[in-house]
Symmetry: C2
Amino acid sequence: MPNGFSFALLGADGAARLGEFRTPHGVVQTPAFMPVGTQGSVKAMRHRDLEEAGAQIILGNTYHLYLRPGDPLIGRRGGLHRFIGWPHPILTDSGGYQVFSLADRRKITEDGADFRSHLDGSPHLLTPEAAVDIQARLGSDIAMVLDECLAYPASRDEAAHSMERSVRWAARCRTRLMEIRDGSASDVGATNPGQAQFGIVQGGVFQDLRDQSAGAAIDIGFEGYAIGGLSVGEPIDLMYAVVADTARRLPEGQPRYLMGAGTPADLVECVARGIDMFDCVLPTRNARNGQLFTSEGRINIKNARYAEDDGPVDPACHCYTCRTHSRAYLRHLYMAGEMTAGALNTLHNLSFYLDTMQRIRDAISFRTFDRFRQEFLRSASRLSLDS
Amino acid sequence: MPNGFSFALLGADGAARLGEFRTPHGVVQTPAFMPVGTQGSVKAMRHRDLEEAGAQIILGNTYHLYLRPGDPLIGRRGGLHRFIGWPHPILTDSGGYQVFSLADRRKITEDGADFRSHLDGSPHLLTPEAAVDIQARLGSDIAMVLDECLAYPASRDEAAHSMERSVRWAARCRTRLMEIRDGSASDVGATNPGQAQFGIVQGGVFQDLRDQSAGAAIDIGFEGYAIGGLSVGEPIDLMYAVVADTARRLPEGQPRYLMGAGTPADLVECVARGIDMFDCVLPTRNARNGQLFTSEGRINIKNARYAEDDGPVDPACHCYTCRTHSRAYLRHLYMAGEMTAGALNTLHNLSFYLDTMQRIRDAISFRTFDRFRQEFLRSASRLSLDS
């Protein structure tokens, strides 16, 4: 374990786990949801809104921060925490996912990913070592290894070759981090000596490849393990099955992070399968599009039925939006194109997600998780109340 | 005086006045600045941000609210305060200014203003009586009479004819309000029985017309008086002179409102000439464009010189933005197109405006207003620190 990061398993209820991890910027209770702060800001939120909603950790996107304002600038300003004024834990991804999304603007080789910036077309090379160095300068509390992101569907051969490359990249990432830790790469300008590094399990929907990938990651040795390459279009039952089988392969004493998921139901279902950490743009992006998550299902605030509805978005919610404003007003703000609509909606959706995580933790603690799960799936996970 | 509205003059320092007015939704200390909440929302601000910045009253634009979501809907929801969830005082304009801005989409007759909606091209007729009825349904604490807004420059004849029409319209507005108050127009659906009504002095830059307009308004009798048709392109010294001479003509025991002004220097200079109330989009609109007001002058946060500036926007400011974030981060958010940039910048600019009003009130109270004014004009009113 490096200085600064540790994980403690505090309880369990079936496969669901209650825990906490410590970082140089504070403690995070798990299961945890991490709001996505793409460019060093969770869209439409101020930091104090995040604190109020109950966020203990946020995610920063290395690809975006690398391109603008640049990791050297952020490093000179003392790292990402200091630059953005967020004193709590931060996890950064490796930048790989965004680079792979660039489609015809990138080319993958064994060395890394050649790509052209979506901002100005400038050429860049993202190697495993570069992904480590960039994140070291950003100084996040948890850095992710660079992995190859497989599209769905993929053949078993494609999945195997991709997974094997990801294993080789993961080893290079770990080697590079060790050089930074032992001082032999001091020119990198790392800003957080307590930074942890998580490995990522790939292998598509092929469980033997997933097992092989998990084993290789564990052999390399990381402070935590993520499951990548899911929530990319595969059937939901298949995703849940891969999550369950893969989580089972990971060390009990370290955190397990399901990348890029998901819906409220996904959070509950994957906690039930042993996951500790989540991130997703769903609550923030959907808020800006007028879709709100409630304890009784999703609503689209632009629906005409809310034009004269004096009630709050969710009577069970205690967030500022629900305490202060009616559905009628929120609909008006949305229809009128006011940016405050995005702010109020995002505050609600993130409050709903983070409240859900708190209720999950409480339920595991009281060993009532299965009852909570059944009730939750009957109400909050309904897709829409509008039709 | 109607039930619900009263003004008290609490002190003076030269022509500068300290006072307060009471409304059905609370007290406002004057001199006061009213943030503009065009569509029932001060752009990029949540209500609690406004309260924190020190806003005691906000302005709603009747034209926008009439078109969307419509005054009948707002009336059914109990009025504008209840609809938007703002429990403090609200002033509404008459809608005239926006209608006159429609240029070739409107036609003015003695009856009122025929116009087509900027949203969908639908035809509408805004008469003096309609402007009163709409604002009665909105239920603002202070309603404005419908006046004709004169473009600058205008000939003396044009200014005279326009002013005379405004006087006739003002009389019709007052008559209509009296019908609402005495119950003979109960079908209007007024939502605030304590609503006050302000007259508006017009007359362009011709002081004899201004005097005539002020006299006519006083003869009709309103709860307060506004000076309209300034800050429309005339030289600043001319504006200040008209303000001084017109304010002098208005009753000492009633509030005086300079519509649509202004810069920080305008606020101080016009308080010095006897003005009690202001509104302007400058702090909010400029914030969204990256221009920030500080105690040492304006800055454009997009300027490259701020890219690595760890200091706050304004070291003398105590707002959340200045307490939490650096110029470097605010510049990054602006350049990255994050909507949080608008929110943080607006919170700062409004805090600066409202702090300035508090400092003005303190200075009048301590009879040090002239010293404050000289110091303020030497520092905060500088146009730019960037060049």
